[in-house]
Amino acid sequence: MTATIGYDDVEVGTELPERLFPLRRVDLVRYAGASGDFNPIHWSERAAAEAGLPGVLAHGMLTMATATRLVTDWVGDPGAVLEIGVKFSSPVVVPDDDEGASVSVRGVVEKKLDDNRVVVNLTTRCRGEKVLMAARATVRLS
C-alpha cells in the first residue's frame, strides 16, 4: 500500500487538475442497486416532484464517491485515504437524457501535516453550483 505521489513532491497549493464526471440516470439506478439506497427521488420523476424537488437527484453519497475519486486516482492507492468529509450544499439534478449531469471536481493541497499526510480541499460543481462544501480528504503520501 503505497501512494504513487511523494510527500516531498507536493507543496501547499499543488493542484489536482479538474476532471469531469458524467452522471446519467442509469448511473443512479446502478448506484441504488450497489448501495441498497432505493429512495425513489433518485430514479422516479414522479417521486421527486411529489417531494417538491427540481428533478431526480443523484445520491449524495454518489457525489461524495465521485469527489473522492479525484483523490484516489491521484494517489493510486485508495488505502492512502485516511479521512474524507463533505457537506452536501446543493443537489445534483440528473435529467433523463443521454448527457445527464456533468460533475466537475478539482483539488488543491491545503495543508501538509506530519507523518507524510496532506489535506486536499476539493471543489465539486454541477452547472456552476458548488454541490459540496468543506470537502476535504486527508491522504498519506509516500
Binding site: 446502478r30 450497489a34 453519497m61 454518489l62 484516489t72 493510486g76 488505502g79 485515504v81 452536501f88
Partner: protein, 152 residues
C-alpha cells in the same frame, strides 16, 4: 411532527455482521464508475500489500445498520424518510475495508436539534471487525425538513 428526543444517546447495532464480499466491492466500484485495479483485481490488490480486494472509502456507508443507521421503522422515533436529506458525511479510516472483513457497525444518535423549521440529526458510526479491530468511524448529519415546531 417533531422527532422523539428520547432516542438521543441510543445505540443501534447491526443484528448480524456485514460480510464484505468481492462481488459487492466490484459492483460498488462499477456503480461509482471507478476502474481502480485494487477494487477489481485480487492479484493487483495482493501485489499492493492487501489481503484481498480493497473497498472504496465511501463503501463504509453500505455497512450501517438499517436505513440511515437509525430505527426508521420505529414509529416512536417519528422520522419520515421522505422528508430526510443528507447534510454532511465524514469517514475516518484506520485502514481500508477489504473483502473478507466482517463488520459490526454501532450507530449512535448523538443529537437532534432544531434549526429553523428543520431538525438536524447527528449520528456517529463505529466500525469494528468481528475480531474486535476498530477500523473506522463516521459522522452523518441528516436534515428532517420542516418537522421542527414553529417558534411562538
Amino acid at each position: 411532527m417533531s422527532l422523539n428526543q428520547d432516542f438521543v444517546g441510543r445505540n443501534f447495532v447491526s443484528p448480524v455482521p456485514f460480510q464484505v464480499g468481492r462481488e459487492h466491492i466490484r459492483q460498488f466500484a462499477q456503480a461509482i464508475g471507478d476502474d481502480n485495479p485494487l477494487y477489481h483485481d485480487v492479484e493487483a490488490a495482493k501485489a499492493a500489500g492487501y489481503p484481498d480486494l480493497v473497498a472504496p472509502p465511501t463503501f463504509l456507508i453500505n455497512a450501517i445498520p438499517g436505513a440511515l443507521g437509525l430505527p426508521t421503522d420505529d414509529p416512536a422515533l417519528g422520522l419520515d424518510y421522505a422528508l430526510v436529506v443528507h447534510g454532511e458525511q465524514r469517514f475516518t479510516l484506520r485502514r481500508p475495508v477489504v473483502a473478507g472483513d466482517e463488520l459490526i457497525t454501532t450507530s449512535t444518535l448523538t443529537g437532534i436539534r432544531a434549526v429553523g423549521r428543520n431538525e438536524v440529526l447527528v449520528t456517529t458510526y463505529r466500525y469494528d471487525t468481528t475480531s474486535g479491530e476498530e477500523i473506522a468511524v463516521g459522522t452523518c448529519t441528516l436534515v428532517s425538513r420542516g418537522t421542527a415546531p414553529p417558534r411562538g
